[in-house]
């Protein structure tokens, strides 16, 4: 069995919203292993974004434990977590989240700027990542000059440039037309075939169908896991 990358152990997340407390995630337990292509499927408000943020330790659980490579992340300092994000995790956001004042090349370089051990071949890696998403010829365009699909491809290149162990994608096709979406998903499938671990968050069963394993979330609870 392949090694565990991330494991959730009875994870709950509650946060106050006005007077009431929202149970965003209740008793979630699952493991993501090396080479998995998992989709987290659920309607909006089901807690999948919370799950996503917890997976990238942008957020901490209220109770329960999250392990990254078998280390409990509660024992990892905030700086250390940032370093792990820079080194081993790639994020793709629904809203692309490119920095508008930097060109495509500079945006793609960002994770390497924060990498604890910047690779010597940084420039080549950036070109390689841009080539992979077929954006090499737009390297010196600003995000504002690109279409949605192109921007998302740049965001994917940025997520891949540090050769992360795991790629987290939050509704990566949410803002794209179906044809562009299919291209992006094919790219994910290809990346997974090459051995990359991928977690895809979506509300769309058709997109989830691209993955090899689905985790269904409803009202903060995991209602089905194909593992």
């Amino acid at each position: 069995m392949p090694a565990e990358v991330i494991r959730f152990d009875g994870v709950c997340k509650r946060y106050p919203m006005g007077e009431t407390v929202v149970n965003a995630l209740v008793d979630a337990s699952f493991a993501i292993r090396e080479g998995d292509f998992v989709s987290i499927l659920g309607p909006s408000g089901s807690g999948k974004s919370t799950l996503m943020h917890l997976l990238g330790f942008l957020d901490s659980p209220t109770t329960g434990e999250i392990f990254f490579e078998n280390r409990p992340i509660a024992e990892i300092s905030a700086d250390q977590r940032a370093r792990i994000r820079a080194e081993k995790i790639g994020f793709v956001f629904q809203a692309f989240n490119l920095l508008p004042r930097m060109d495509v090349f500079a945006n793609t370089r960002l994770p390497l700027a924060y990498h604890p051990r910047p690779p010597a071949d940084a420039t080549e890696r950036i070109w390689k990542a841009l080539e992979l998403v077929d954006m090499k010829n737009r390297a010196h365009h600003r995000p504002g000059q690109l279409s949605g699909g192109q921007r998302q491809r740049v965001a994917i290149a940025r997520a891949l440039v540090n050769e992360p162990r795991i790629l987290l994608a939050d509704e990566p096709t949410g803002n794209l037309d179906s044809r562009t979406a299919a291209t992006i998903l094919d790219l994910f499938t290809e990346l997974n075939r090459q051995g990359r671990t991928i977690v895809l968050v979506t509300h769309d069963p058709k997109i989830a169908a691209y993955s090899r394993r689905q985790i269904h979330v409803m009202d903060g609870r995991i209602v089905r896991d194909d593992a």
């Binding site: 942008l58 940032a82 370093r83 792990i84 989240n97 540090n162």
Partner: protein
């Protein structure tokens, strides 16, 4: 991310908000400029003063000078004769440790010769003055005992006076000139003194002078006047303190206890010079400090506004692996880039202003380019950048990535 790329990135941000950055930078620019220019003014002013002090007799010099009477003593002012030749006589007789004593009576007079006129300062003195105030002759002789006794109409001229009255290559020594209409023979010419600070000859006062025997001055040019000063010089520096006390006693006795004089050393003048200079520097530093404080506030304001706009960017950077420290140094570097640019431009503008004023103002009043001011102005702008950047950068680094990502 190292400091250099941080500053480059900061310059990019500055460029992205041109007007806003320009206004903030203007504050830094004016702050650094006012600092460099005021320091330049102070330097320019004191450079001439300090060289003059050195050349005015050095540390062994002791000066008796008139002082206003206290209100309590005012009714008795007629009791004291003021400085007289008898004072000089008493000082000479009672204080053998004084190497030189010379009374001095100053007058503003008009020199005339063959249709040329020149108004200048004339001092009635004894030969000792040349030793006390460090004057040398380039030609001719000083006063003889006979000149003193006879109240001879002989004069020793500084080079500036010579230049005003004589054509080039005309013989000066032995020539006759008129001093306030009275014919006098030139018996000596002083050396030409110069010591340039920028374009300004700080020793020019030593050339703008002329001497006659004190007896001549007292009896023929300003009859009945009392002496302006009593100049003395100790044989050795170690005796200066004691001689000041003794001279004060002797003069006090002769002036019948009236405090219409004081005895000072050059040392005290140097000290008061240092004090005045220090207070001017404090003043200048105060002005500059306030302007830099203002620019610091401007930078902080700009950074806070900028961070508010860039909450999302901070969230993205954090999600991509930036630590709090990365974010912190990014924003500090931006503030430093801003103030550094302002500082460089400020120094540049200051150079322009100083050169401009140097051309427009008379020497001695004009500011000078003081290298220390550049270093201080430059350092200050960087320090202001760092200090003004710290608080906003801390705010930025503490942002929760989740909140930052959700922020629209």
């Amino acid at each position: 991310m190292n400091l250099f790329s941080g500053i480059l990135n900061g310059l990019g941000e500055i460029w992205a908000h041109k007007l806003r950055s320009f206004l903030t930078m203007l504050c830094v620019l004016l702050g650094v400029m006012s600092m460099v220019v005021t320091t330049g003014f102070v330097e320019g002013m004191f450079a001439s003063w300090s060289t003059s002090l050195e050349e005015g007799g050095g540390v062994e010099k002791i000066t008796g000078m008139p002082k206003a009477l206290s209100t309590r003593q005012q009714p008795f002012r007629a009791l004291s004769p003021g400085f007289t030749l008898e004072d000089e006589e008493a000082l000479r007789r009672l204080l053998p440790d004084l190497a030189h004593v010379s009374p001095e009576l100053d007058a503003n007079v008009t020199f005339q010769r063959r249709g040329k006129r020149h108004t200048g300062r004339l001092q009635g003195v004894r030969n000792d003055i040349f030793a006390i105030n460090r004057y040398d002759l380039s030609d001719g002789r000083v006063f003889s005992d006979l000149d003193m006794a006879d109240r001879s109409e002989v004069v020793v001229l500084g080079t500036r006076v010579v230049d005003e009255l004589f054509e080039k290559d005309e013989p000066v020594v032995g020539a006759w000139i008129e001093v306030d209409g009275r014919p006098m023979r030139v018996i000596g010419v002083l050396k030409h003194y110069e010591s340039y600070y920028q374009d300004f000859n700080v020793l020019r006062w030593k050339n703008q002078i002329a001497f006659v025997p004190i007896t001549t001055m007292l009896h023929k040019l300003k009859p009945g006047a009392s002496l302006s000063w009593m100049n003395m010089k100790a044989s050795h520096l170690s005796q200066v303190g004691e001689l000041v006390d003794s001279a004060t006693n002797i003069l006090g006795h002769r002036h019948r206890g009236l405090g219409d004089f004081e005895v000072k050393t050059n040392d005290e003048q140097l000290a008061s010079f240092a004090r005045t200079k220090a207070s001017f520097y404090f003043f200048a530093a105060g002005i500059a400090g306030i302007s830099l404080l203002v620019s610091g506030i401007g930078i902080m304001n700009l950074m806070l506004a900028s961070i508010n706009e860039r909450v999302r960017e901070i969230g993205i950077r954090k999600a991509l692996g930036a630590t709090g420290r990365n974010i912190f140094s990014q924003f500090v570097a931006e503030a430093v880039a801003l103030s550094l640019l302002g500082g460089v431009l400020g120094v540049g503008v200051a150079v322009g202003v100083i050169l401009g004023l140097g051309a427009a103002l008379p020497p001695g009043l004009a500011p000078v380019l003081a290298p220390s001011a550049f270093v201080v102005g430059f350092t200050f702008s960087v320090v202001v950048g760092i200090l003004a950047g710290i608080y906003p950068a801390m705010q930025a680094s503490k942002l929760d990535p989740i909140d930052a990502l959700r922020y629209e």
